[in-house]
Symmetry: C3
Subunit: 309 residues, 3 copies
Amino acid sequence: MQLNPPLTLKQVTELLKAEFDGDPGFLVNGINEIHMVKKGDLTFVDHPKYYEKALNSAATTIIINKQVERPDGKALIFSDDPFRDFVSLIEKFRPFEPANGMISSTAIIGDGTIIQPGVFIGNHVIIGKNCIIHPNVTIYDHSVIGDNVIIHAGSVIGSDGLYFKRRPTHYDKLESGGRAVIDNNVEIGACCTIDRGVTGDTTIGCGTKFDNHIHIGHDTKIGKNCLFAAQVGVAGCVVVEDEVILWGQVGVQKDLTIGKGAVVLGQSGISKTLEGGKIYFGSPAQESREAMKQLALVRKLPKIIEKMD
Amino acid sequence: MQLNPPLTLKQVTELLKAEFDGDPGFLVNGINEIHMVKKGDLTFVDHPKYYEKALNSAATTIIINKQVERPDGKALIFSDDPFRDFVSLIEKFRPFEPANGMISSTAIIGDGTIIQPGVFIGNHVIIGKNCIIHPNVTIYDHSVIGDNVIIHAGSVIGSDGLYFKRRPTHYDKLESGGRAVIDNNVEIGACCTIDRGVTGDTTIGCGTKFDNHIHIGHDTKIGKNCLFAAQVGVAGCVVVEDEVILWGQVGVQKDLTIGKGAVVLGQSGISKTLEGGKIYFGSPAQESREAMKQLALVRKLPKIIEKMD
Amino acid sequence: MQLNPPLTLKQVTELLKAEFDGDPGFLVNGINEIHMVKKGDLTFVDHPKYYEKALNSAATTIIINKQVERPDGKALIFSDDPFRDFVSLIEKFRPFEPANGMISSTAIIGDGTIIQPGVFIGNHVIIGKNCIIHPNVTIYDHSVIGDNVIIHAGSVIGSDGLYFKRRPTHYDKLESGGRAVIDNNVEIGACCTIDRGVTGDTTIGCGTKFDNHIHIGHDTKIGKNCLFAAQVGVAGCVVVEDEVILWGQVGVQKDLTIGKGAVVLGQSGISKTLEGGKIYFGSPAQESREAMKQLALVRKLPKIIEKMD
């Protein structure tokens, strides 16, 4: 998420009541989780395993729970609990705003767009022209929807991502401060859920078509002209390139990429990055030809093993 | 979908600004996709692979992108883009009608039926007697629901089918003009989606019971007294005969038949037509006994292969 | 479900017009399905296979379709159709009450709780403090929700369980008379469904977090601090102990237990009780290490079998 206007390091550390190392006038332009950072961003790190990654990332202000040497051109904020402090900033600058009615007065809705009854449109939502939003759809605050988009009944756009930190006695939530952004000419089936980014955007590319009951996790990027059949689930921080086809009930794990034009057959499970232009099957998925060959042999196993004895 | 009253060939071709071969007074009684045609219907074909099938189908008026010989008793309409022209007819005769309120004044609702709050009932919907429609259900235009039907909260009846034509730069939608038709004594769980037919009907047979999160694709026919557990997904143009049991998370591919009384165990994937009266398991599914035998051997593979060396 | 005040055996049998064996003043404190019975409860049994179990259960009043010897300290009610009579008692004491508006006047909602637009809250619902109920959520009658609970849009709490009795020509429904009970600090994603118990409670333990599209069946008990990823489905009468993690699209069959701290990898299918503290994978699931070893060998099968020839 962007800060508009930006804050100074001094302002941030006063809010957090935290020590810091850097120029008090150093600017913080955005607050972003480590997967999504760019220059000017503040991020956090609380595990020694990720100190190097965070300090060397594009982020220029880092909340950290260790006294380390400050990298050139960056600022450090010291905290006994960087996660807590990072969440407190999100809550401060992207607070939950209860609604007053089904369609927020701060929403902007384009010409020719039809909003059917029972639709909830949250604060600061932008919807383009000539869309149809079918009944009982929910569009959370800050979502952005392009032109000629169709969203079928019961779907939910911009719900919170599943992003929790395990504490000794409970889970703490990373409050979602990001957005769901849906490009032009997208069609989304009934009872789909598209989580917003935790700090960045979850995006659905131009011309992509979804069947029903599809789940898209936080910060995931779906390309252009993709086609997803019913009950597909894609975890968070995934990149699906253009023209990918996922057939029914495919599941995709987090933090991976599916290459352009890949086709994944029904019920497959994607556990690692897949090259584009190929057909995949199985759980975990392999190239379809390999998977089918192995499957054929498994079916012959009773005879093969009988022959062996 | 039926045309009431029927059109003449002359009227249709004037709407489409298209050349034709046939008697200008020849009647077109319905507009249907090739899987659903009967005598009197208009359909379309745009791929040489399917010319024969379309010309020899029950349809009596065919929009086609090639000059071919007209079959006896039929009419041809020539088009450079039969898909586009077919869609334009659906849009003309089954246009999307925005709603004015949660319950359309054109809906017919039987005696003793309880409509809970937050339910959307579209135009021309018919609901029988003694039903309970739970909160936040959406029933799209033209849906037909029998007597003693229970639909749980958040379910969506009659949403559009996933039926797109791949163009070089995008997908074009076959607008759905069909219906969802639910027979007497059906119970549908929460957050289910039943797509309408693209031109024909999606039907759920008398006495069938669905758990939650079930997806039924366009033009699929579910028989009587079936039982589907949660998160089952059935693609389009499937026939499920009477008394079939699908356990949780089963997926069914399009254009196939599951025979009467078949039982499919949880998480199985159905990729071809299944005989009735048997138990199936696996993805892709086989007869359960075979699948279990192979599975047992796979579990012994480490020992078997060790012994081989 | 509890009866408040309790009934006498005489009162129950007059309602059912049934013969009985026992003291007419014997008390019936609750009506419960055999899985959920305790002392003072009435239950039913109609299959010889389960006579012994029912007669020896904690239940003290049993509706039965056979003249058997009465166990000490218990009462028997004789019926030609115990299922029908049991259902008639549930319908009598937990009748469906149609709603008058989106939020029932009999609901109790705690301080600081935010109810977004489009939310349905049924009769006798209790919601604690500082909750956020997002738009278009449905909460059925008698549900109980703790403090600091977040429920995302489109979710359904307390829908009926899938519990039917097969008759020669149709299914008969066991009307759900139980509750859905959600403890403090739970977060439930978008488009989830949590069925109420058929006679007892379906419970979600303190601090548990659900992603989207999750299904929890009737009478299932989910422990504390569990984490379920999207599209997980758990059948009825399951016990999931504390701190269990189920990754995306996992399916769990009915009547089993998943031990404390177990982790089940994505798309796995749980068909039997699992020990806690271990990692599982596959459909049906095994310990992950075993499953992975077998999988590796299946992938080598083409080479292994080639070598054999």
